[in-house]
Symmetry: C2
Subunit: 459 residues, 2 copies
């Protein structure tokens, strides 16, 4: 009997897996807070030692960005099986700040189990999910050799935007070479739904600046003749979308991959209720592009949202001013087939054509990110499906997510390998919030999923 036929569930050492994770969770590795610099080193050292104990060649690498020292990366590898695929497992050991600490029922860095859930900062994001892979590898090793070559890349700056990661990936591209990159740093679609995430939206984020007169003017003396940059900005924003919620920038939809009938059917079967979704955010309606369901709009359709706007008088009471300037932050979520640089250029070309008379406009590119989609027919996706079936006894849901994970695009760009997103957490774990938690069952299912998935990838 090979390990691939073993029922690994029976072999789980739950107590030990929990004890070790709790030890890691007790280290307050808050990357945003300089007073925790020593804790960052402790958490990295803990992981290196653990991976070394599993026979990995492991080290803690210093990082830097723009001449500034970053938090260290833990890198480890076991290349035991030449000819078998190499799997790079990414995770992060840093956590969000714990504030507001008074809202925590139990201390954020003293993991506490209540009703089958581990309450602690980092329990789901991402210490718990990352450590599930460490224990998954350990589980396999307890049965024999690893079915694939495994590399771990565990960073300490994810919660502050991974500023050193791209440079690190670039500098270590050869060493990090892999056939597939495995990440568990998000949420499954719903409690009873094992999920493979196969798509992320991209992003084009711009700032629109509008200038009217060369100084603020009195709205009495000038109202009716002076250009008003706030009114002009509102017109520009209105001109970016039509009444059907479609973006009107010429060429915006060129190349957008249509949803396949199979995807639409698949998503229609997911347990989703518009009423519950709207209620969860306290909204009276869910406006958006006509002709698409909510999940389709969130996952597979590009959008345009104003993320910020300013101009003129924002204080109490009234001031009769016509501002000289106004501005807005506008972002477009992009989908496969769209290129952020091209979209940003289209916006920069279009906005001046719809600006009303008398104002000057400038569109500044602020940020971009490539959309990502993994082919549903890829062997990696199919391996993940089979692994999840073995753990959960039911087929996986293939979902996308509306957000962007910048590091995913970095991995694809700098390492050239496909990314496999298999999440163990849930939205209800409340990552980034007080009382972050991770269900014990989800942790142990994560360990099992990791082990089965590495087996499946080795087949």
């Amino acid at each position: 009997m090979t390990t691939s036929q073993t029922d690994l569930a029976a072999l789980l050492n739950r107590e030990e897996a929990e004890r070790e994770l709790f030890e890691l969770l007790r280290i307050p590795s808050v990357s945003a807070d300089p007073t925790h610099a020593e804790d960052m080193g402790r958490a990295a050292g803990f992981l290196r030692a653990k991976l070394e104990s599993l026979g990995f060649t492991a080290r803690v690498d210093a990082t830097e960005h723009g001449g500034k020292a970053g938090h260290p990366v833990v890198y480890a590898e076991r290349q035991d099986v030449p000819g078998k695929p190499t799997v790079l497992i990414y995770g992060h050991y840093d956590v969000q700040p714990e504030a507001p600490v008074e809202e925590w029922v139990s201390p954020p860095f003293e993991p506490t189990v209540r009703e089958g859930r581990i309450y602690a900062r980092g329990s789901t994001d991402d210490k718990g999910q990352a450590y599930a892979h460490v224990r998954g590898v350990e589980l396999l090793l307890s049965q024999g050799e690893l079915p694939v070559n495994v590399k771990f890349l565990l960073e300490g700056e994810e919660e502050v935007g991974s500023p050193s990661l791209a440079a690190y990936l670039g500098a270590h591209a050869d060493e990090l070479k892999a056939d597939v990159i495995l990440i568990s740093d998000g949420s499954r679609f719903a409690p009873d739904v094992p999920t493979v995430t196969y798509g992320l939206r991209g992003l084009s984020y711009v700032e629109i600046l509008v200038q009217g007169a060369n100084r603020d003017l009195h709205s009495g003396a000038y109202g009716g003749a002076a250009p008003n940059p706030i009114n002009a900005l509102a017109e520009i924003i209105c001109g970016l979308k039509d009444e059907q919620g479609r973006v009107t920038i010429p060429g915006f939809y060129d190349g957008v991959e249509d949803l396949t009938p199979e995807e639409r059917e698949m998503w229609a079967r997911l347990p989703h209720s518009d009423e519950e979704f709207a209620a969860s955010i306290g909204a009276s309606a869910l406006p958006g592009e006509e002709g698409y369901s909510t999940l389709e709009r969130l996952w597979a359709r590009p959008t345009l949202d104003v993320n910020g706007i300013w101009g003129g008088y924002q204080g109490e009471g009234s001031k009769t001013v016509i501002a000289a300037k106004a501005g807005a932050k506008v972002s477009m979520r992009l989908v496969p087939g769209q290129d952020p640089e091209r979209i940003t250029r289209l916006v920069q070309e279009y906005v001046p054509t719809i600006a009303p008379q008398g104002v000057k406009v400038e569109v500044r590119a602020l940020h971009g990110g490539q959309p990502v989609k993994v082919d549903l027919d890829s062997p990696y996706i199919k391996a993940a499906d089979r692994a999840l079936q073995r753990v959960y006894g039911r087929p996986a849901a293939f979902a996308r997510t509306g957000g962007s994970i910048p590091i995913v695009a970095d991995f694809r760009r700098l390492l050239g390998a496909p990314v496999l997103l298999v999440d163990f957490g849930l939205n209800e774990d409340a990552p980034h919030s007080p009382n972050e938690s991770f269900a014990l069952e989800d942790y142990h299912n994560g360990i099992l999923t990791s082990a089965y998935l590495l087996q499946e990838l080795g087949e």
Copy 2:
């Protein structure tokens, strides 16, 4: 030979008139700055003493608003000629703060003459213009008795919004009774154009608040389905005006008094250049309601301007947030025939009907003011025209102004008398700015105009 036939110009004591005004200008009566409380009292005392020396019954009255002490009012009267009209002259002895003081070429409270102009804070606004009336009365008294009954009301809070004035007017309504109220606290149309201002626009000022979800949302996770209050606010703002620059609120134009062909002709003859006007504010165009000239749009047409807007992320760089709330300050300048309360109600009724799905809107009334127009055929207007002809040797221009002067509506409402606006200053005097100035010639012409106008009003 009666004084009305005298050439008063020959009788001007220019030196003395300047010396006295300079004395007043040296008192830093900055109403906004509590450290100048004593200076306020000194300025009031100076005026009371001067008016007493001219035979007026004069006093300094304490004021208050909302239980708080205000700056004093100087009140003085000479009721010498029963049966003749009573003229109430309004002015203010308080001045704007002098900041930024480093931009002044000569000290703000040390009046200095350069190229025929008095440079000092308050020189034009309003010490110089108000004191011209004091000296105008003195000029008449030097020739005999006053041709009308004269009351002076010189307040000390104009630059902070006249918070105590309405209460003072209400409490002294009987005493302040007058046939006409004379105010010189603004600017003539152009250097060579003696001007009577016969109309002011009114105001309806509201705040529009838009709420989407019950909290800020991640634009990745929610973009495409969550209501966006900033986009919604932009749509609302766009829905308030059409492409011809007309306000689309139903009923908005009901009752608006049309310009007469005579007014349009009269204003078309004024020395105005759109190019120069646009250049003066650094604007590349002067957008506005189609079918009207710039002056017509500024003086006689209602407008709608957004005075402030806010929502979401306004900092550096990018934040992918869909804000829960957004807001804007919106004001409408009103013209004769429009009532501020009715207009505010119309806006409050209309905005919710154009708000997109999924957001809640609230329209708060912040501020209102009645438009004012004096009948061009009134005897007071004609008297002013004759007085100005005697001083300047040319007919007066009859202009309106786009702004509102709240005290003017208060005077009409609380004292029931028509208001006559005859300004001696110019925009280029730069009231409220560093290096405020007043041409000596304009000061002395103001004194003459005051004297001739009181004569004309007595005829």
